[in-house]
């Protein structure tokens, strides 16, 4: 039975009782997704690797910096304005580009890969004399300004008299109500449910799904991890790596694939598009993640060859691609040397 909502104001604290039928929804979802081995293939805590400086540097290099793509018109349904024009000297143009660099860094800031959060278990007090005070639980939130939402005090008084810290879902809902973040909805949008998510991915809207997931969830939210991993795997299956290139999601995707040992498709993509540096970086990343040491070879070609002969999973396809690439390189170098001779 749905109960009426009751509002109190006690000084700084405000409470908002959550309807009983919602509680079941939250707990069931967190139970389902506690298993981190769900369709991923790794149980390692990715945050151990993600925050290392050398890993971050490699991921940054792999992402690339296509200014045109980063600053493209995303067509988000906003009202168009006529363009503005300015007359600038060269110095001013350079200054503007410096400002754009700062903006670019912010746009390419990678959302972290974390393991799923542990459910909140802290109980503040058990007051059995209060039990049955109402047939719904009361949630209290501290709405002082300037506190980080993860550290904000959100407590719940259950009908059985227990005063506990709010669960992650309750916390996020309350914070969104009182301190809304743009693009985030109070309850999870239907788009992130399995069937609808699959529809979106089938349409190829990877960047949209990932951007919305970033806006909607916290990075350690089980739902976020589920959505992002599904998207990354989908991109890997369909070889659509270029859609995420020069976006903030490319780095996390690459790290995820490396952790799953599913980076061969990506390596194949790099080799066929003749991006040797990127391929070499990818192999270096692999070594960093799995053996925590940078490989001894400095030559990129050697590095890639060693990987293909050694830890690669899809050896035949990679070998073929690599051989083709080497042939093309040889021909190109021959043509260049002939040209040089002719000019000399």
């Amino acid at each position: 039975m749905a109960t009426r909502a009751v509002m109190f104001t006690i000084g700084k604290f405000r409470c908002f009782p959550i309807l009983k039928n919602r509680i079941a929804k939250f707990t069931s979802s967190s139970n389902l997704l506690n298993t981190s081995t769900f369709d991923t293939g790794y149980t390692r805590d990715p945050s151990e690797v993600f925050f290392k400086e050398n890993v971050q540097a490699l991921l940054d290099r792999l992402t690339g910096r296509d200014y045109e793509k980063v600053f493209q018109n995303r067509k988000l349904g906003q009202r168009l304005e006529p363009p503005k024009y300015e007359l600038l000297t060269q110095a001013e143009v350079d200054q503007v580009m410096v400002e754009m660099e700062v903006k670019l860094k912010k746009k390419l800031q990678m959302p972290p890969l974390l393991k799923e959060r542990e459910p909140v278990t802290k109980i503040l007090s058990k007051d059995a004399e209060l039990q049955g005070f109402d047939n719904c639980k009361y949630v209290f939130i501290d709405i002082s300004q300037g506190i980080n939402d993860r550290k904000r005090e959100v407590v719940v008084r259950d009908p059985n008299g227990v005063l506990r810290d709010a669960s992650w879902e309750e916390r996020q809902k309350m914070c969104q109500i009182y301190f809304p973040l743009p693009g985030r909805q109070i309850s999870m949008p239907k788009m992130f449910e399995e069937t609808h998510l699959q529809d979106c991915l089938d349409q190829g809207q990877y960047q949209f799904v990932l951007d919305r997931a970033c806006a909607q969830f916290e990075p350690d939210d089980p739902d976020y991890i589920r959505v992002t991993r599904k998207t990354y795997n989908c991109i890997d299956e369909n070889n659509k790596f270029s859609t995420l290139r020069s976006t903030r999601h490319f780095g996390p995707m690459v790290l995820h694939l490396v952790l799953c040992k599913r980076m061969d498709n990506l390596l194949f993509h790099f080799i066929t598009s003749k991006e040797v540096k990127a391929a070499a970086d990818l192999v270096r990343l692999f070594h960093l993640v799995w053996s925590d040491s940078s490989p001894s070879e400095l030559d990129e070609f050697q590095l890639i060859e060693n990987y293909i002969q050694g830890p690669a999973v899809k050896k035949p396809a990679l070998e073929l691609a690599w051989q083709t690439f080497l042939e093309i390189e040889k021909q190109r170098l021959e043509a260049l040397s002939q040209q040089n001779k002719a000019s000399n």
């Binding site: 600053f71 018109n73 168009l80 007359l87 600038l88």
Partner: protein, 453 residues
């Protein structure tokens, strides 16, 4: 007999309004005179006229009258009553006025009420080797009806009904309507060109010898929607001739207009012609042609799809509006030209690209310091002048109690539209938390009754 005639004279004397004569027929038995009420009531004096032996029947019938004696022209003149001078001045051609109808229309010499074959008139005399004889052909029962219908439709001025796509600015009138591409000249077929009439009026010139001479003046614009357009005016006695002249003259005076991305002008500008001033603003895709109707047609001819133009001063003088606008368009400066003039980079910033700079034009050499004039591009283009913008819309006085009252009432519903959308997304219908408990308060969607086939 004499008595009767005397009686008739008396009748005539009694009623001086009689026009027609009385035809008196003498009948031997039981004749009566009936009083005639055609023109005026007559005091019947049967005592004078009634005779024991015969009463004459009087009926007003004429075999000949002015109808037969006068020509059609003078008869119509009597009805329409417009003098020769009046006709020259075009009087008597208003909508309600009687117009002379040509009753010979629909009739052929030789065919009449009795449908007869007259060799030499409505058939050849010899056909093959036979002599054709006069013959009575079967009657056409509808002939009368057809003629009457024809005559009814003549002279009635009925308004043309045009489809919305063909209509101009106002009804079936020519301004705003397309009159097709210009006539081909040599090899040029003017493919893709369309002309639109901007003004179609009757102008007069007064002279000593000729007096007032009327002519139609047509002002048209022609263009191919791809940067080429031209306008011209043509004058002639007949409207169609004037249109044709204007159209072809416009085709001779084509001008190329620079556009930005083929959808709008290069930059904001101001131009004037006479008392007509035009302020033009560049607008983004999807904005549309928000401007004077003449400017809209010119933009369509050129191929401009998004613009804002404000006409101040004489807005009715279509020729001035068109000229002011065209002059402004031709005086536009391309980015390359601006860069060369100012020796600075012309950089574009777009909001949807998070103001990422896009260099539109680079000069051959760049200067290192900027003057005051280079601070704002619009200032540079308008020679230091700035458009004075009007304050737009309702500006509420925040401390006004009536405004506060309004806000306090409408604040509840400020997010109502978004709430409806969210409810539809979540539940598929607009419902409240009470909908489960009280199913009768659910919204019932109106379903049209489908006809059973």
């Amino acid at each position: 007999m004499a008595g009767l005639w005397n009686a008739a004279k008396c009748l005539l004397q009694l009623s001086p309004n009689y026009v027609c004569c009385l035809r008196m027929s003498l009948r031997p038995i039981g004749v009566t005179i009936q009083p005639i009420t055609l023109f005026s009531t007559v005091q019947s004096t049967p005592s004078i006229i009634s005779s024991k032996r015969f009463n004459p029947v009087v009926s007003a019938v004429r075999n000949t009258s002015f109808f037969n004696k006068l020509p059609a022209e003078s008869l119509w003149k009597g009805v329409t009553s417009v003098s020769n001078a009046g006709k020259k001045r075009g009087r008597g051609r208003a909508v309600g006025k009687k117009m002379a109808k040509n009753l010979n229309k629909g009739q052929v010499v030789g065919v009449g009420k009795t449908n007869m074959l007259w060799p030499g008139l409505n058939s050849p005399i010899i056909q093959g080797k036979e002599l054709i004889q006069q013959k009575k052909l079967p009657d056409d029962p509808d002939r009368e009806a057809k003629l009457l219908k024809l005559r009814d439709e003549m002279g009635a001025f009925r308004l043309l009904r045009l489809s919305p796509l063909e209509r101009g600015w106002s009804g079936p009138k020519l301004p705003g309507r397309s009159v097709g591409p210009p006539d081909p000249v040599g090899e040029d077929n003017f493919e893709g060109f369309d002309t639109i009439v901007l003004e179609f009026k009757i102008v007069c010139n007064m002279k000593g010898n000729l007096g007032r001479t009327r002519r139609t003046s047509a002002f048209v614009v022609t263009g191919n929607g791809n940067g080429l357009a031209g306008f011209a005016t043509g004058k002639a006695q007949m409207g169609m001739t004037a249109l044709r002249k204007a159209k072809n003259r416009a085709a001779q005076k084509l001008m190329y207009v620079e556009r930005y991305n083929e959808h709008t002008v290069l930059h904001d500008f101001f131009s004037a012609f006479g008392k007509t001033r035009v302020f033009v603003q560049k607008k983004p895709e999807g904005y549309g042609l928000v401007c004077h109707r003449a400017i809209r047609e010119i933009c369509k001819a050129i191929g401009i799809k998004d613009i804002y133009a404000k006409v101040e001063g004489s807005t009715k003088n279509v020729q001035h509006v068109a000229k002011a606008f065209m002059v402004g368009l031709l005086r536009q400066k391309t980015f390359e030209k601006i860069a060369e003039e100012t020796k600075l980079h012309v950089v574009e910033f777009r909001k949807e690209r998070d103001y990422f700079p896009q260099i539109m034009a680079k000069p051959s050499e760049v200067k290192t310091t900027k003057a005051i004039d280079d601070m704002d591009l619009n200032l540079h283009l308008n020679a230091g002048k700035v458009v004075s913008k009007r304050k737009k819309g309702f500006q509420p006085n925040e401390s006004d109690p009536s405004w506060k009252n309004h806000i306090s009432k409408t604040e509840r519903f400020r997010n109502r539209d978004q709430v409806r959308v969210n409810l539809l997304v979540e539940h598929g219908e607009v419902r409240s938390f009470l909908a489960d408990k009280y199913p009768e308060c659910r919204q019932v969607k109106f379903m049209k009754k489908m006809e059973e086939s």
